[in-house]
Symmetry: C2
Subunit: 207 residues, 2 copies
Amino acid sequence: MSDIKVRLTTASVITKMVSMVRWKPGAADRLRSAALELFHERGFEQTTAADIAEAAGVTERTFFRHYSDKREVLFGGQDSLRQLFVDGVAGAPAEWSAAAIVEHVVQSIESYFDADHRSSSRVRQAVIDANPGLQERELLKMASLARATAVAFGERGVPEPQATLAAESGVTVFGVAYRQWIADEEESSFAAIVGEVFGELRAVTKG
Amino acid sequence: MSDIKVRLTTASVITKMVSMVRWKPGAADRLRSAALELFHERGFEQTTAADIAEAAGVTERTFFRHYSDKREVLFGGQDSLRQLFVDGVAGAPAEWSAAAIVEHVVQSIESYFDADHRSSSRVRQAVIDANPGLQERELLKMASLARATAVAFGERGVPEPQATLAAESGVTVFGVAYRQWIADEEESSFAAIVGEVFGELRAVTKG
């Protein structure tokens, strides 16, 4: 009797987990696509969470299970990006220089910027570029990325000002490379563009 | 008769001009000193324009003749700074490289950061560092400085991404050097610190 109950519970828990795993990424992606389309067509201010949920065919409650607010649809990825920068700096071999680490870290986030994401990234950027409040938000997110990266360099023993300069350079290159990667008709990979931009940065800073 | 009237008018206009010249810088400086002291003691939010005017011994109307609001006491200088960057880039010899221009421009703003301003700059930065809203404002001002400088590089014919990279590097070095210049017990000149920070940037970006 208790054995049957346990087996039933286990089966129902597994079924629920499988359905969550199947359902979660699908709904988050559908919500993101619907949101970007609506932000782009109507404008960010004119789109509500309810509009996004409706367009994605889910309830508003489901929207808020995935995103704390509509702004997070645009900027949630920047928190993951910050983690990639911080983990990349923390996990680099002990003997690497700050210059080597920063270039490697920015190169290695390519997995985040694969060809599939290029067109949605273009729409996302067009939405941000059309709204001064979102532009400010993006600048502050980039500043927070640079600060977190500088702290990660500090924690590996890189002194100031090298820690801040390495972090700021990495974030500058990232920002410039990202803009190039989403430019009209650009087809080079993110990593290839990052390599070129680091080369340009060295040329521009040489004495 | 008409000759006497002209002479009287001229004398009274000159007297008025002299009194304006004498009074204007004095009042602006007194207001700034009073504002920094109050922001530092009571906090930025807890200080009103009326408090500042009273502490400086002027009317509130006089305060608003010099500053559009209390935040401008802290950030008004950044608009002049942006102009110095832009004019420096625009006015550099035609044959100079972007690397040479950016280093020269950041060095040459030393006149703005002379020894007399070091202690008031320390207080100003402490006020900003204590208030998240002011920190955001400062980050946005720095971003606007970088953008304006990139545009100035573009106008001299420097292509992208060099224009943005040169501008961002200059603003990064400026920010790091400024923090060092106002550090406790730092006595090196602003220009000397800028030179060192550019050296560190080259080391950190070399491949």
